[in-house]
Structure formats: structure tokens, C-alpha cells
Symmetry: D2
Subunit: 338 residues, 4 copies
């Protein structure tokens, strides 16, 4: 519920109302504006109905938030959120490319790959240390050693870094090494993990689940914001459909639709979204054109030898060409490539 106070309402009035909201077990929000103070009350609908604020003499208007998600909704937060991710900003006028290999395999592999993507203009390095793999017999990632390599290589090159976290018990260690968490598609509805990430203040790149509706993704983000972490970046990475020629079906419709419904920044992962190296470039440009705030792209110094997802990884030369080709599309969309 959004509560707009009258111009003559004082801070004391706001505090009194916020206390009433909190006393009912609801989450109180204080949003002072230039002309009016706006309050929010978030939580169980039936409890909200017991507030009866319409009749308060200093309340100008009261408005239900129609969407099932609240804090992520544009209704309560009309302006675009910009998330600081180390050296980069996600959202606003930036079009940010996060690049690196699917998995951290070795220090040498990371240095070669990171050096190349840095030269191509990238500020944020990616690389997985904990890999969720369909088969227990596939490479599962280097774990903490991988985190160390990722962080060291990023620091050497004055880059920021992001990596996936797959378990509540790993949140603390990942937070220590990475500038942002990645929450993968298979964990989009791991609500305990979402809550744990909500208790951090580091940015969370939340990837859409393979069977998740856009509304499910926004509700998953709501879990993180409801715990107090406003730094969520949504990521479209392809959904599960009947088409088998591509690994997933990249649902770019989601980009403008999320922009309409939510204030959070939206990135696109054309590597998983297609599963085919040859389609990564065209779909990266399409993502820029339809309003995305950036990309996650898998780049490997030697894709043929990659321990995972080699088929969808660009080599460093292909990536360099792509960065140059992307620029006019980002510009046409009113954004600056970084």
C-alpha cells in the first residue's frame, strides 16, 4: 500500500504512521519527495486492510499496489534503479558488458581471457567457481580456489568480478571474494538462498528460471528486496520451450515488459539464451536494441578446450569484434557501452 501524506504532515506524523505499520508486522517504507512524503506498507494483504489510513486527517490518499510484487514494482518506485557493481554501474545511461568464461578452470585460463576482455573495454569479469551441473560426473568447479583465482585476476587488471553462489552456506565466502553474486536459473526459486542474499548489500544478478514466468522472476526479486537488499539486477537468459535447434529460447519480450513493470535494471545472457556461439552476436545486438542495460557473455581463451559450455563461448577475437559492432546499437538505444 502506498500512502501519500498531505503537504502539512510533519516528520512526527510520518514516524507515528510508520510505527503503526510496523506494529502490525508489516514492512514500513519512508520515501520523502520534493513536495510530498510518501509511505509504504508491505506485507500480508489482509493485515494491510486493518490499517484504515484513508480517514487519517494528514493522509492525502491511499493506493493499493495491484501487482503481487511490491518493492520491485514501478508503482512504488517510478524511477529506474541504478546499481553500483564495483567499477561499473548497471542501469541508467550505461550498457554494461560482463564477460568471462563459464567456469574458472585455471589461473592461466583466467589471465588470458580476462586480459583480452579488459582490452575490449570490459569492466566486470565473470567466472564460475561453483558450477551447478546436470550430471554428477561433470566438472563441478574449483570451489574456493576458483574464487581466489577470479578475485586475484580481476584485481591485477583493475576489474570487478561476479560469480555464482549456489548455497546458503557459501554466501559468506562468495561475498568475501566477489563484487556481486550471481543467482542462477536453477536457483531462482531457492527462496532460502534469496533471503540470504537479501541480507547482504552486495548486488545480486538474478537469472530467470527456465520455467519461470516474468511475474515469478519479479516475485523472486521481491524476496531479496524484502530482506533489505535493493541492489538486484534481473537477467533474461532463455526459457525452456519445444524448440531444439537452440539450447534455450531467449525471451527478449521480457526486457521491455520488465522495464514497464519494474524499476530494476535488466541484463541479457545471449550465451545461455542461444547455446550457439554464432547466435551470440546477433542476439547481443538485439538485447541492446530492445532496451537491456547490459549483457553477460561467455568468453574463453580456448573454447574448444573449455570444461563446460564451450559450444556457446566466444573466443577472445570474436568477442573483440562483437564489442566494436555493439557500439552503434547501444548508442542508437541512447546508452553508452562499457
Amino acid at each position: 500500500m502506498i500512502i501519500v501524506l498531505k503537504p502539512d504532515a510533519t516528520k512526527a506524523t510520518a514516524d507515528e504512521l510508520l510505527a503503526r505499520i510496523e506494529a502490525l508486522g508489516l514492512k514500513p517504507l519512508y520515501m520523502p519527495g520534493a513536495e510530498r512524503v510518501v509511505l509504504g506498507a508491505i506485507g500480508d494483504e489482509r493485515v494491510i486492510d486493518q490499517l484504515h489510513l484513508e480517514s487519517h486527517p494528514l493522509v492525502e490518499s491511499v493506493q493499493r499496489i495491484l501487482a503481487p510484487y511490491k518493492l520491485v514494482s514501478r508503482e512504488i518506485h517510478p524511477h529506474d534503479t541504478i546499481v553500483d557493481l564495483g567499477r561499473a554501474q548497471i542501469g541508467g545511461g550505461h550498457f554494461t558488458v560482463i564477460a568471462g568464461p563459464c567456469a574458472v578452470e585455471s589461473r592461466d585460463q583466467m589471465q588470458r581471457t580476462a586480459g583480452a576482455v579488459k582490452l575490449a573495454g570490459v569492466l566486470v569479469l565473470r567466472g564460475g567457481a561453483y558450477k551447478p551441473r546436470t550430471s554428477p560426473y561433470s566438472f563441478q568447479g574449483l570451489g574456493q580456489e576458483g574464487l581466489e583465482i577470479l578475485r586475484d585476476v580481476a584485481h591485477e587488471l583493475d576489474m570487478s568480478c561476479v560469480t555464482e553462489v549456489v548455497e546458503v552456506g557459501d554466501v559468506a565466502v562468495v561475498e568475501q571474494y566477489a563484487d556481486a553474486f550471481q543467482c542462477g536459473a536453477r536457483n531462482m526459486q531457492n527462496f532460502r538462498l534469496l533471503r540470504a542474499l537479501g541480507q547482504s548489500r552486495k548486488p545480486v544478478i538474478l537469472k530467470r528460471g527456465m520455467a519461470a514466468k516474468i511475474e515469478d522472476l519479479l516475485l523472486a526479486a521481491e524476496y531479496v528486496l524484502a530482506e533489505g537488499n535493493p541492489n538486484v539486477i534481473l537477467c533474461e537468459r532463455g526459457i525452456q520451450t519445444f524448440e531444439t535447434a537452440t539450447r534455450n529460447t531467449l525471451d527478449l519480450n521480457a526486457v521491455p515488459l520488465i522495464k514497464q513493470k519494474s524499476h530494476l535494471p535488466v541484463m541479457v545472457d545471449p550465451s545461455h539464451g542461444t547455446g550457439l556461439r554464432e547466435l551470440v552476436g546477433p542476439m547481443a545486438k538485439a538485447a541492446a536494441a530492445c532496451g537491456a542495460d547490459g549483457l553477460l557473455i561467455e568468453v574463453h581463451c580456448d573454447p574448444e578446450k573449455a570444461l563446460s559450455d564451450g559450444r556457446q563461448s566466444l573466443d577472445t577475437k570474436q568477442f573483440d569484434v562483437l564489442m566494436r559492432e555493439l557500439e552503434p546499437f547501444a548508442r542508437a538505444a541512447g546508452k553508452r557501452l562499457q
Copy 2:
């Protein structure tokens, strides 16, 4: 099967081989090039195996076409096909927008809509006279009267026009009025209709079925080409998925994938592909960015009063803005907007 002749093979050799191909009930193709003559033999694989051309003294090489589609494949036709559609060309360096209402409703509606899209730079007008509708109680189109209005209005404005054909029995009358046929998603596997369209020489815009894999679409196009009509334009218009926030899921992955597999031009219909007016613009730009050859866009002079699909139609002003915003994306993709 692709048969490359030696440089010293004469036209008589080619004719002899083509006769052998035809005698087996296969479709013979004659494709003379600058340095070599190439022949094709299309049809039942088991019959092709009986040709035994490898040992012919004037045959340089013989190559099986691996894809299940043959004539639409890049293996047999490496260069992009450009289709003449009245005043416009589809493919090559052009990015062509075909616009107009979902259904022809009246002469006045067509004149107002067509006048506006013409002013915005459009060469080809669309409008349905035979409407396939889910319910028998919905507006089913004006039939032949609609064809007349469409043709008249297009001619008055010096535009070309396209319209949907839904039945073998209507092919002749639609051919009389329209510059190109549209074959809708629900008829993509109406193989009799495809064969009938293959006997015309007018262009066919073939829309992908809601449950059709990309390979199914290419095989549907093969039906048209196999009957002798090479003028096929493929159209991605969204597939059926679990997502309910949009009418369909526009599968832009299909655009670069089809470009890789086939020489045929590819257009995109962001109106059906999203079902939501607000998403048409962003997805139109994305289509341009990922390499499409053009767009089909629903525009209505008064969308609120449209007899079908009003929710996804742009009004004429929104369309005019879109055309101007599209230009830099088409240019960045190396194409000229028309």
C-alpha cells in the same frame, strides 16, 4: 544432391544428366556458375542413391545435402535470395516494413490507415480479408469485398499490398488482388495450401506456426519451392510457451539461425509476437538488430475500435514515431529502411 561438373563439361553433358535425374522422378536443378556448372537432384533419398554419378567422367564431385530441406538450404544456394514484392524488395540491403490493420474493416478505415503508413515511408500495405478466428462468433473478415478495398486503397496510394489466404479454393481470387500471399501460422502445415501457393509465382510470406520448430518452418517452405515458386519470405511471429504476460514468445533466435541455414529472407511480426502495443517498438528494433530483413506491423487508425487485435495495434502516430526510431538500428545493421 549437389553435382559439380568439371570445367570441360558441356551444356549437352548437363542436359544428359538432368534428363537422367528427371527420369528417376527426381527434381532436376540447373545452376550455371562463373567457373563451374552445378546441378541438383532433389527428392526421395533412396532414389537419389541410384543415380551413381560419382563415377561419371565429367562429374567433379557429388555432395549429399545433409539438411532435410533442400531447395531452401544454403548448401544448395549459398547467396541470399532477394524477393521482389511489388514496389519493394525483401532481402539484400533493404529493411522493409509492411504495415496496416489486422483486418480490412471498411474503405474509410483502410484509407486513413494506409495514408498514414504511406507518409511514414511504407511501400507495402497489409490487411486481412479472410480472418482465421478461434471462435466462430468473432468477426471473420469481409472476404472478396475486403480484397477489393485493400487493392483499391493500395493503388490509389501507389503502394503494393499483401493479404492472408486460408484455403486452396481462395488462391486464385487472392492472387488476382494482392501482390503477395500471406500464409498464416495456423496454416503453416496446411500442405495442400502450400502446394497451391507453390504453383503461383507471386511471393509467399510464410509465418511460423505456434508449435513449429525452425526446421518445420524450413520444411514448410520447401513445399512451396518444390512446386516451383522460389519467392518465399519466412516470418517469425512468436511461438506458444508457458509465459502468459505476452500473447506469444517472439523467438528472435530464429532470425540468425534461419539466416545460417537458408538463403530465404526473414521478416518479423512483433505485433503477434508480443500481443502488446507497448512492446512492438522495442521488439521491432531488436528484430532489425539481429539481422531481420523487415517487419510486419499492425497499425490501425483507431485501435480502440478495431474488430480484431486492437490491443496489439499501433495507432498511426505511434507508428510514425517508430519508423523514425527504427532508422538508426537498420543502419547499424547495414540495411536501408523502406
Copy 3:
């Protein structure tokens, strides 16, 4: 709209009201019951609203049909429809198995297959003469010759027969040879074909499209009933999903759901619904258990040599075993196997 007349309303009153309904371009229905006469008015909702029958002195009540489909709805026709299909009845207390090969290939193949399924207790023979095939280079059916073989073999064995019709232009010839039409999944929204079948009085087995919601299937059936043919049998045959281990995903949920919404009989095709011979038996039993009125099963005298769909065809011995195993499941469901 359903109009219940008062007990003292005469036939003249009914006729007067039916004339008013017809005069507005609506479809009038006359449904006399033991105690009350019920009328129906079907068509454009906005026109129905102009009838103003609520205030008529001999009208007891007026009720809108909430479903988008009307004639197929249980609201207007609460009792199960039983369709006569030659020697068999579909619906009511019967569980009817229609069996035979995917395609009619030769007289010998039909005689051997039909003889075996007849011995196993089958009354209705199936076999395709016009085959819709994804590739133009696959076997397309024997056409009219196939119809003749099918009819002859059925008659020799005192069986009835059904076959697929794919085109408006073929309806007359198929009607001449077959006891019922099959309308395939790819033609479920070929609305012209549905209208043409609605003008016949022979039964129509309408298969659910691969991307068709249950509501779409019911609306497709409405096209047939709206033209005057009440003899429609719905058929669940699997939908398109992401699962690739089976050819389609057989959606048995559809069976009890359709039974709830509609009075029409429902059959199940476990051959296409699974695509795998080994799954046909278990899913046939499941169909019987969840309330289906019968099955369409592909049987071939020599599946390894079948010109289409051999992988999903039972051989005659497997079919015989299945028929015996099916019996207790049909009985547990309160039906008699035929």
C-alpha cells in the same frame, strides 16, 4: 443464451420467440424437456443483448452461457452425447477402440492388419489415404486409391472405417468412402475445413492441435456444431512440450476436464501421444482409467516396414495382448470394451 419457458408456454410461444431469435441473425435452438421447454440463442454477444427476453411474460428465466463455446458446452446440453459411428457407438457406456495402420499402403497390408484387429474385437478400422507430412519428400499417401482399399477391406470384414481429410476439396470424396472423418492436429484450426465438415452429418473425430489449449479445441468443435453437425468426437493426441524423450506429451488431464466442460465424447490417441510403441499399452490403460470413451491406436502388420510412424505402431500380436489387458481397466471405469 439459454431461455427457459414457463410451464404454460405453448408451442406457438416457442415458435414466436425462435423467429425473433432468427430474425436477429442468431442461431435458434429448440430443446423441449419433460417439464419445461428450453430455447437457445447462439451468436454475437452484442446482438444477443438486444433480445430483451427477460421481461417476456412466458419466459421463466434467461441465462448467459459463460463459456466462449456454446453448443459444445455442458451448460446448454447437460447430458453426454453418444455418437453413432457405423457399427460402433462412441460415448455412453462404451469404450471403443479404433485401430489400423497410420497409412494405407497396399491392399495386402490392410487385409492383414484389419483381419488381426477385427479378431481382437475391433469394430472400426482406421488408415490414412491423405497424409500430412512435415517433409514434401516423405510418402504422402495413396489418395483415392487408398480410400477404396480402406472401404473395401472394412466392408469385407463387416467393419466401419475412418480416415483423415485434409482439404475442403476432398470432403465429398472422403464422405463417399468413410463412415467418419478424422480432422488432424495440424488442421484443428483450419476453420474452412471445420465449416465444410459441419455441413456433413457424418461423425468428425477432431484431434487437438499440438499447441492448442483445451479451450481452443472446444472452440474448434463449435465451428462444426455451429454449421449443424452435432456428431463430433474430440481426441487428445499429445501436445508440444520441451520433453524430447517422447514424441509428444499426452495430456490426459484434458480428458476429465473436457468431460466437465462439454457433453461431447473424448477419445485418446496414445500412439501419437507417446511416439513410442512401448508406452502405448500403459497410456491406453491410463486413458481408460481417467474416463476416456475410447482409443485410436496405430497397428501395422509389419511395423518395421511401415512407410510412416513405424516406431509408434504396435504389431498385431502386441495389439491383441493389449486388448485383453485393457478389459479390466475399461470395466473398472464402468465401460464395456468394444
Copy 4:
């Protein structure tokens, strides 16, 4: 890899080979049979290739396991696995119904519901204490208090109980209270949780993810078995498709297909698989008919007041009727209802 030893191979030979397998970091399996000893070597394919056991004088044959899953495969374990779940057995000749409310809400609700399902013949009670909910503002379960109520009520009635576990950190406490773990659809690819459950010896009911192929489900089970817990029960509970009339599409094809590929028991959840109370009964019977080993059914003493999933819960009377109606279907399938 499956290694069949010659009849004259001694236990010492087997031990020597198992040591070689283990030394390479592979999982060794010892499977003595009546006539031959069979060994297994499970793990990275490339490492397995280094074993070179074909040439060993006491090895009769060596066979690669073709499926990507190994321990769950019928290739390595041809006979059906029967899992002991407290007072019940899952698999073999039993058809076991596990019933209870979606969520544990109160001691009274559990006593009333459990008393009724016990009377209807149920041995295993279900009820969720940790509920994964799409929205953070929905009821999230009673946690440990819920576990206590569930266990107490089950013990009072001499029943066993199962409940969902959503987090590695909760495995120990859930193990203390429940006779079996339920791993929900959203956690089917929470590989850390699967590994943790693999370190227990209590049974794991593993539900298929909404976007999971059958092969993905089998690979998820492989994670549990690879950690040493052989007591896995697979559960089909509906997949995500385009159909919106039902909550999910229950994919019963999965039941006979899994039976063919794996030795593990398979249960079906028709409550989530349909989302509609009216469809639970028909689909429960269908599950019995196609070969499932049992059912998970949601029953609530007062569905209208249920805090979650009331729409799909049977009331206790409906459940009692269903149990009686199920019996002939279980019997026809050669199983005994419990």
C-alpha cells in the same frame, strides 16, 4: 562401466579390481550374482577409459553404460528397487498412497486430516513445515513446530510421515522428525541439497522439476545415489506447458518411460499435476493404470480454509471415496493398494 567376471574369478580378484577402480577416483560397485560376479565403475568417462579391463584374464566382458545416468539405470540394476518407507513399502507389488495437507497449519488440522486418511487405509502421512512459496508475502510454513506436530500426529496414529526439505541446513532436523524426505520440484536441481540427502539413508521422494526432462530427473536422482543413498523414489507432478486450464500438465508418459530406463519406484502427484480437485480422482486412477507405484495426494479437513493449495485439495470424504474407487484399478495393474 559394467565388468562381468569369469566364473572362476575369486573374491580376491574382485577386490583387486575394485581397488584399481577406486585408485583412479572412480566409484567401485560390487554386485555378486548367482552365477557371475559383476563389478561397476562409475565416474568420469575419460578416466574409465584408462582402466583397460578388457584384457584382464578373469574378466569375461566389459560393457559401457550408455545412459548418462549410471546407478539409477536399469542397465546396471535390472530388477525393480523396493524402498522401505517406515510402515510402507514403495515399489514391487504395492500401490502406496501418501496423503495429507499441503501445509501443516495446526495440531487440530493435522489430527482431523490424519485421522480421516488413516481410516481410509493410508499408512504414510504428508504435510509441509517448510513451504517454498512464489511470493514472500504468502504463508511460509510453521518450520520446526510443524515438524513436531507432523511427527506427533503420525505416531499417535501409528503412521509414518514425510515432509519437504528445502535447504542443506535443514536436512539434520528434518531427518530427526520425518521417515522420508520430500525434495520439491523447485529444488530438483539444487545439487547441494541432493548431495546432502545422499549422505542420509532415509528415503528421498524426488519430484520432477517443472522444466525438467525425464533425463534431468534421472540425473538428479543419480546425485543422491552417487553419495550412497539408494532409497530414492521418483515423483511425476506435472510440467510447465502452454495449457492454462490446469495448473500443470501431468506427464504420465513419464511413468512407463522411467520404468523402462530405471529400477527406481515412481509415484505420481495428481494434486499438483492438475491443480484442480475435480481432476485428482481421474488422474489418480490413470496413474495406477499406467504402472505407477503410488500417489501423493493433498487432503485437507477443510479445503476452503487451507492456507495453501486449497483449490487442489480433496476433503476427507472425497478422499475416502477415491480410495475405494482406486482399488479395482490398482488390482487390474497387478498391485495391492495400501
